[in-house]
Symmetry: C2
Subunit: 343 residues, 2 copies
DNA sequence: CAATCCGATGGTAGCGCTGTCAATAATTGT
DNA sequence: ACAATTATTGACAGCGCTACCATCGGATTG
């Protein structure tokens, strides 16, 4: 014979059905489509479930139905505040739907990403949300064989695996630099940390804006592959100053670095914005609160999360968007730190 | 007859076994216990898997084996930086093990927590990590019927569901206040936001330390249920000043509030630490970088995550710790913001 | 050389649920 | 009133994998 007898303590759907006096399949329908049951049976199954404390077996459900109600989310970092807002949008939007969110963290490792995508594929998620558009060829292959709607978030590009929600990091950086140039600043430093693909694109926006104004100078660029911290902002700024003293503005690829620069200026008695303009990226909450308040590029992270989930759920349920790529844009939040020098 | 024929495109373990010239059960063992196979069969199965692009079906695996290799993690917030570090520890520690992490976010809602725990139970996780010790009676019941190792993190208490890793928020706050008192400060304000159970315990530490010195005054306490932001730190501090001008120190329940207080001081020309001492909680990275650098209570969040995973995995594999409750303590990081007034 | 053990492999029977289709009961139209 | 349609319900098989033995050859032992 096979394995040992089913323990009498185990409560399966069959037991519930028996107690309710219906067939197992009717009890099954109680969970998936209660409206299809007559009111009397619905009530009987409901009370049987409660009486027995029935806990459905999701594995059996998934095996029999060939699907799950899980939306996978793959992000590169939990430490980076940027993703906290995206995730807030994702969770807010998924709440009230039948789908639950399963989060996975690549920690900026493309190997880890491949591994996680493979794991997700084996779980047959109902939908998937992944960060960025620079997946490896291998990861892309996994995504294409995922057999469910996929949304890439955080940036936009020409060849979506399926759908995309994001904005142009290039344009956003370009706009920020243009703003600084309009304030009459000429020597604009670039501080970059953990140069992931999106940060790289911000650099390109900076570079091209500077080149357009014939002001690009490699000496103005300081980058590192180290992850971002506030302290690092101060360090990179010190490096920049050591390299060339003639600096009248700094563009930081994120707000933590910008805050670090501000602190370093306070330490060195550099007046902001008189002696130096500071512009960050993402517009985290503290930027408006700093003294002086810090200019930044607001990215619509919460909305990005919301839209990503909505698009995925709609696609799961057969309502595909007409346009697979959604650009949520950005807003330049001009504050005291980038006011003109004579103000 | 039953459902339609299995699509010929679908690759199951049977197909792999056939190609490798072994029985399905041998192919199955290839994944779970490769050492048990002879070298020749191992190689044959390996190449068959690669040739067919076999993707195991986790639902079938879970159904047949009655278990999964998922460790569930339940936290109240992703926005709160504190959890980012805990999660980093969790992910670091789980890497290299066979277990994968599944994250769920209650958003500080106890109803959401009950729902998520029920969902986890239906998934039969191998282990579970939950935040805090203040679960509802219902949640606790679900945890107790989870049938897998459970570790509560972030704080410690007397009645663990199973295991615990954390520290005493009460003691930490008490120590911070004692330090401020030792600097000769007498009127120490308390700023608190989103008064979750752990923040509540920090308040109790503050209150008792102040009472011990006969300095407790309800007018010094400003709290709100609103979630924490840097800006809110400034607002609460302004409220405190409006209520009583004689303040020579502020204890903030977290570092974001402390930074907000610092900015507000800069705006109001209040000299720190001469006119006011500021002490935060958690010791986020920016505290050391601020000007002046800000005193805080370092909590061992990364270690907490690491230990939680290790304890859970050990317990899954039958190595239960002798002592179910692990206290990781805290360190007071004294910096410029709480130096004596005459310095 | 029989008795014993051990490592490698396979056969069988489910795990608990749902898709498919058929059957039945209730309702409607003419 | 009777056929046609629509709501409910049920029977059956099987999703893809693994637990539980059974087996079988070969090594070890006395």
């Amino acid at each position: 014979m096979g394995r040992k007898q089913t323990k009498s303590g185990k409560i399966r759907l069959t037991e519930v059905a028996k107690l309710a006096g219906v067939s197992p399949i009717t009890a099954s329908r109680f969970f998936r489509n209660p409206e299809a049951l007559s009111l009397s049976k619905r009530e009987r199954v409901d009370s049987a479930v409660k009486e027995l404390g029935y806990v459905p077996n999701l594995a059996a459900r998934a095996l029999a139905s060939h699907r799950t109600e899980v939306i996978g989310v793959v992000i590169p970092s939990l430490t980076n505040n940027v993703f906290a807002d995206v995730l807030r949008g994702i969770y807010d939007s998924s709440e009230g739907s039948r789908y639950s969110i399963q989060l996975a963290n690549t920690r900026y490792s493309i190997l880890q990403e491949e591994k996680l995508l493979r794991l997700f594929r084996a779980q047959k998620p109902a939908g998937l949300i992944v960060t960025g558009i620079n997946q490896t060829a291998e990861s892309r292959k996994v995504l294409e064989t995922m057999n469910c709607p996929v949304t890439q978030i955080m940036e936009i590009g020409d060849s979506p695996v399926d759908m995309m929600v994001g904005f142009s990091h290039y344009d956003a950086a370009f706009a920020a630099i243009s703003h600084i140039l309009e304030q009459g600043r000429r020597r604009i430093g670039f501080l970059g940390a953990r140069m992931d693909p999106r940060v790289q694109r911000r650099f390109e926006g900076y570079r091209d804006a500077m080149k357009t104004a014939s002001l690009f100078d490699p000496n103005l660029v300081v980058t590192t592959s180290v992850p971002t911290t506030v302290t690092l902002g101060g360090t990179l700024f010190a490096d920049l100053l050591a390299r060339t003293a003639e600096i009248d503005a700094v563009f930081c690829v994120n707000d933590d670095l910008a805050l670090g620069v501000l602190f370093e200026c306070q330490r060195r008695q550099i007046a902001v914005p008189r002696d130096l303009a500071i512009v960050g990226f993402n517009d985290l909450e503290f930027m408006a609160s700093a003294v002086p308040s810090l200019t930044s590029v607001r990215t619509n992270r919460y909305e990005m999360g919301r839209h990503a989930v909505t698009m995925v759920i709609d696609a799961i349920e057969g309502r595909r968007p007409q346009e697979p790529v959604l650009d949520l844009g950005f807003q330049l939040m001009v504050r005291e730190s980038s006011m003109p020098q004579n103000s």
